[in-house]
Structures are given as C-alpha cells and as structure tokens.
C-alpha cells in the first residue's frame, strides 16, 4: 500500500486515544461506525426485511404445525446454511467494490473436491487438507483479481471464465463419483455442537467485550474532548445484545447445542467486520468502492485493494467448501454449484449491501443468511416443488435489489429536502 503520509498536520495532534470504536455526537440522528455511517434512511430500508422475516417465520410455522420455529429446525438451519453466510462475507467485499464474482459457486465446489480428495484419497491430515484447500482457493481468487485489478479486465468476464475453469477442475478431481470423507475433525466442523457451558461462556465473553470496547471508546472520546453517544443508548444496546445471544444459546442448547458451523460463521463475521471498519485497509476498500478516482488521487493503491478483495473472496470460497465437506462428510459434483452464487448474492443484498459499491457492512451476512436459510428450510419442510423454490428465490433476489435501488432514490430525495431546507 503506497503511503502519501506527510508529517505536517495543520493542528497539533491531541493525546493518542486507546482504542478505535464507533460513536457519533448525540446531536446527529445517525449511528456512525467509524467512517461508515449507518444512516436513518438505511435503517428504514432494513426494517421491511425484519418485518418480512417475521412474516415468513410465522407463515412457515403455521404451515408446518409449529415445526418451523422449533429448536430442532433452527439448529438444523444453522448447521446447514452457515457455510452460505460465510461465503457471503467474501461477496460483501466484492460488492463493496461494485464488482461481481460469478465464479464463487464452482470455486466452492473446487474447495469441496480438494478437501475431500486430500483427506480421503491422499490421506493427508485434516489440518493439511483444510489448509491446502483454502490456500489454493485463495490463490484462485488472487489470480482472478490479478486479471481484474492489473490487466483491468471486467470482473464479470474474468469470473465467468473462472466459473468454467473451476467447474472443469472440480469435476475432473471428483471424476463423477462421490468421495466419502471419514476424517473425524473435518466432520466435526459440520456436524458437532459446542457444549452448553462453552456456549454460555462465549456469549458472556462477547457481551463483556462489547461493554469493554464501549468503555474504552467513551474514555478515548472524553480524552479527545469529543461528544459521545448517550450512555443510556449504549447500555440498551449491550442489554439487547445480551438478550439476543441468550435467546439464541438457550434455544439451541435445548436441542443439541450451538452448532460448530454457526460458531465459525460468528467468528468470521466478527473478524471481517473488524477488518472492514476498524482497520486502514478496510476504510480503503470502502473508499475504492465509493469513488475509485478519489481513492487513487488520495494516493491509495487501488490496484492492490481490488486484488486483495478478490483474494478474500477466493479464501471464503475455500472455507465454505471445507464447511460443506464437514457437513456432508463427502464431496460430489452436486455438493455445490452455481445455485449457491444466487443464494450468496441474495444474502448480501438482503442484508443491505448495495450492488453499486461502497455501501453495506459485513453484518449483512447474518440478516441475509437468516432470510435465505429460513426460506430454504421452510419451503423444504412444506415439501414445495424444488422448481418453485428457484422461482421464489429469484423473485426474492429481484425484490431485494429493488428495495436497494428505491432506497437509494428516496435517500436522494431526502438529500434534496435537506438542501432546500438549509437554503
């Protein structure tokens, strides 16, 4: 990353603060996540999704005689769909750039094929098999990123090529058969559960970490003489997080516990959210997605940023493939494919990531993932014709993109309103 840092600031730098965290002046009607502001308008566009989620949950529950909102079904949903949300983390970054990665479905299948064949055919240890699969997929992503960032080929075309290439290699490795994987560690990723106690401890740690980060943030802002959000709001947020986590853990514990796959998803989400909103590189990804030319003129190495993002995308496909092998204890040509791509793009867009770049957060994968998993699971419980499922999912994707576009337009109007009000 090229640096344009010139050590001649206009104003004297105040004492360094201890931790970066979000926060906005109480006067402002929005919540700032570092430089990425979650505006009121954006919040309004996510409300229909929460309402929609409640509606589909109640509908499926009534259609399945209470089976849908049950600990067992929710646990299975988490088990079965966490890998899609993990894959969607990579998609979020690609969409933040305003690019697209069409190769992800087959890159995930390639990861499945590699993990299965390394573990079952080459008899490598679980660690080596997993690491090799993820590294190879990351390299595949970086290779595509190289063509996109350096050669400046459109991502749509490059990843369409990747789509075919990865399909071909994966099919070649699998050779039309199913590779059964007996490695207990790999299976544990997809089929095991955390013990009840561990889940509770992790939940408590998460809430404590949130509170500590907030306290550090308040201290830092006070030290810098900046206004901070009302304490009541932060306390309410901490309680809300605690309650939600408690409900999730209690519910899942009442069946078999928190699936390992869900814990993996939670860990990746937190790590990548931190990466995106608290680190310089994350800020630069948003900048490149928001205004490529501005980022370039600001001295940001936009080529490297774009390259890195496709590497992340490839890496997450690698991880998702490993999780899939863990879940199905096997790899075959039907384990993953292009349908997956539609699901993960839906997940990101439903979660509030804009296709035009620069807007959205990694948290999107949890909300979007829940919606897509609910649909899949509910329609499956109702024994819906799978062809209708395609139609419904396609319609949902279009609806989510529609909301994104209309939401942007309405925030455009409110900008106009503010402007005329000020003049």
């Amino acid at each position: 990353m090229s640096e344009a840092k010139t050590p001649r600031p206009t104003v004297a730098a105040p004492a360094p603060a201890s931790i970066a965290a979000d926060g906005s002046p109480a006067a402002v009607r929005s919540t700032a996540f570092g430089g990425i502001t979650l505006s009121w308008d954006k919040l309004l566009t996510t409300v229909p999704i929460y309402i929609g989620l409640i509606v589909i949950w109640l509908y499926f529950d009534s259609q399945t005689a209470g089976k849908f909102i049950g600990a067992r079904n929710l646990s299975e949903m988490a088990q079965e769909f966490s890998y899609e949300a993990v894959l969607a983390i990579g998609v979020v970054f690609v969409l933040l750039l305003g690019e697209i990665d069409l190769s992800l479905g087959y890159l995930t299948l390639l990861s499945v094929a590699l993990t299965a064949s390394f573990s079952a055919l080459s008899q490598y240890s679980a660690g080596v098999s997993i690491l090799l699969a993820i590294v190879i997929c990351t390299l595949c992503g970086l290779l595509q990123g190289m063509l996109i960032a350096w050669v400046r080929m459109p991502s749509f075309v490059v990843t369409l090529g990747g789509f075919l290439i990865f399909e071909g290699i994966a099919y070649h490795i699998l050779a039309g058969s199913t590779i059964n994987v007996f490695d207990p560690f790999i299976s544990s990723i997809g089929t095991y559960y955390l013990s009840n106690t561990v889940s509770w401890i992790v939940a408590v740690i998460v809430v404590a970490a949130y509170v500590l980060a907030k306290v550090a943030n308040y201290r830092a802002r006070a030290k810098a003489g900046l206004p901070h959000a009302p304490v009541a709001r932060t306390v309410a947020a901490a309680i809300a997080i605690g309650v939600v986590l408690a409900i999730i853990v209690a519910t899942l514990n009442s069946y078999r516990g928190v699936p390992v796959a869900l814990a993996i998803l939670a860990a990746f989400t937190i790590v990548f959210w931190f990466f995106a909103s608290k680190l310089q590189i994350g800020r630069r990804i948003y900048a490149v997605g928001g205004n490529l030319e501005a980022a370039r003129r600001a001295g940001i190495n936009t080529t490297a940023v774009r390259w890195l993002v496709f590497g992340i995308s490839g890496m997450m496909a690698g991880v998702a493939g490993v999780m899939l092998v863990g879940y199905s204890a096997a790899g075959s040509t039907t384990t993953a494919g292009p349908d997956l791509l539609l699901d993960v793009i839906s997940i990101a867009v439903i979660g509030g990531v804009s296709l035009t770049g620069g807007k959205g957060t990694v948290w999107a994968v949890l909300l979007g993932g829940l919606v897509i998993a609910s649909l899949d699971s509910g329609l499956n419980l109702m024994a819906t014709d799978p062809y209708y499922v395609y139609v419904i999912k396609g319609a949902i994707l279009l609806a989510a993109i529609g909301i994104d576009v209309i939401g942007k337009r309405s925030s455009g109007f409110s900008w106009l309103r503010r402007r005329t009000a000020r003049a």
Partner: protein, 268 residues
C-alpha cells in the same frame, strides 16, 4: 484594435513561491501548452483564466503532478521540481481541489478529510493497528472550525451535504496537510449565490493564512472579488498577466477573447 492598453506590473517585489517557465505539453499532435510561464506568490490569490481549451487544466495538471510536462520547468521556492505522480506534488506541498471534488460520498467527513492518510493507533503492538477515529475526528473538527466551515456534524456522510459544503470539505481536505500552494479548479462552477459566497470567503481565508492560492474560473465576478493577480491563457500560451487592481473586467475579457493584444509581463 485599441491602442491604449493599461500598464501592467508585477504586484509583489519578492520572488513568487511557484514559478513555471516555458512549460510545454503535447498530446500527440495537440500542442496543449506551448511554453507557458506562470507564477503564484504566497498570500495571494492568482486567477488562471482563458477560454475553453486554452490549456488551463493541462497547466495545473502539470503543476499537480497528474501530467508530466514535455519541456520547461516548475520551480517551488526557487528549486526545480520533477513531479511524476500527484503524490510527488503533494509531498512538495502542492494540493489540488479538482472540479469533480474527489470525495467519497459513502464515507463521512472525517474519513474523507483523512482519505489515504488515515491515522492509526496500536492495538496489538507489531500486529494490529486500528484507525484512530478520535484523533482524526478531533483534528477534522478543529480544521473545519479554523476555516469557519459549518456542517451539522463531521460524522455526516458527504452524500448528505450541500454542494457548497462539499466544495468546502474538498478545500479543507487539501489544506489539512498545510500545503504551500493550493489549486482550485472552477470551485464555484456548480454553486448558487449563497454557496458561491461561502466558497469565495474560504478562498480569502486561505490567502490570509499565507498560502499561494491558484483559482481557475470562468466567472469574472469571482475574479474581481478574490483575486490579486490574473494570468490569461489562450491557445496554449499565456497572453497576459495582470494586477487585478489595475484593470477592469472589460480588459480581462478582451484578453481572454483575444479582441485586444496585450504585452505579456513575463520578466521580473
């Protein structure tokens, strides 16, 4: 056409901070700059005028490091400069506010001011450095209040700001790093009356702070409100250089359109 031309003299006795001598830039067969001289002094606003295609943008792009000139020299404080990228010019203390502003609408004001120069702090020594939001926010607020730029909050997304506020943020972004020379490309072109006023006041404040300010504009009112000197370009050459106090708008327009010929005051 008219025999009686006003007498033009150099406004400052001291050596100009920025001096451009005989700059040449060709785009294939197009001679965009044919040996242009130009200068800007500290504590002065220099207007760069000329009709469309005169070569104004090309000249400032050479000064800002976006274009590498084919001939001539650029001196800063008497020292020759060889900018190959915009970052070279920035390091030398030349900041440019482009007409299209170069702001990221999806980021807030603080993030835009520190774009590409984000401040960090150590979270895990040697491993993780996080953004120092508090320090950046504090410095951003201070810089904006020094320039008397009013916005509801530095945590507002740039997309939510008015045109004048956006222009002001773009200027603040340029001066945050204490440059010696600030170049503004048509800063008031898209603004209404009140917002134009706001930006012109800001330009005057930059002058008060002792910067050498260069303003490209097509607006004669702006020129006479804020400029100390004006250089007029036509067809890739500088055709005139005025002390604004000694001329009328008609003189300037005549120089731009070429309806009168002026003796270029190039020598010291």
């Amino acid at each position: 056409m008219q025999s009686e031309a006003p007498s033009y003299s150099r406004a400052t006795a001291e050596e100009p901070l920025l001096q451009v001598r005989g700059l040449v830039k060709n785009f294939g067969a197009v001679e965009a700059l044919r040996g242009v001289d130009f200068e800007a002094s500290v504590g002065q606003v220099t207007a760069l005028l000329g009709d469309n295609g005169a070569g104004k943008s090309t000249l400032i792009k050479c000064i800002a490091g976006t274009h590498v000139p084919d001939g001539g020299e650029i001196l800063l404080g008497g020292a020759p400069q060889h900018f190959r990228t915009p970052i070279d010019a920035t390091r030398a203390g030349i900041e440019t506010v482009y007409q299209d502003l170069a702001l990221c609408d999806n980021l807030d004001v603080v993030a835009n001011l520190f774009l590409g120069r984000e401040e960090g702090q150590t979270l895990i020594p040697g491993v993780v450095r996080t953004l120092d939001e508090e320090d950046m926010e504090k410095r951003a607020s201070e810089a904006l209040s020094t320039l008397r730029i009013n916005i509801p909050s530095v945590r507002n997304q740039v997309a939510q700001l008015s045109g004048g506020q956006r222009q002001s943020i773009a200027v603040a972004k340029a001066v945050l790093w204490s440059p010696q020379v600030v170049i503004l490309d048509e800063p008031t072109a898209a603004l209404g009356v009140a917002q134009t006023r706001q930006v012109l006041d800001l330009v005057l404040r930059l002058r008060e702070r002792g910067l050498a300010v260069i303003v490209i504009t097509h607006n004669m009112v702006d020129v006479f409100e804020v400029a100390d000197r004006a250089s007029v370009m036509r067809l890739g050459s500088r055709v005139a250089s005025f002390n604004i106090k000694e001329v009328t708008p008609d003189d300037v327009v005549a120089a731009i359109t070429g309806s009168r010929s002026f003796e270029t005051v190039a020598q010291a």
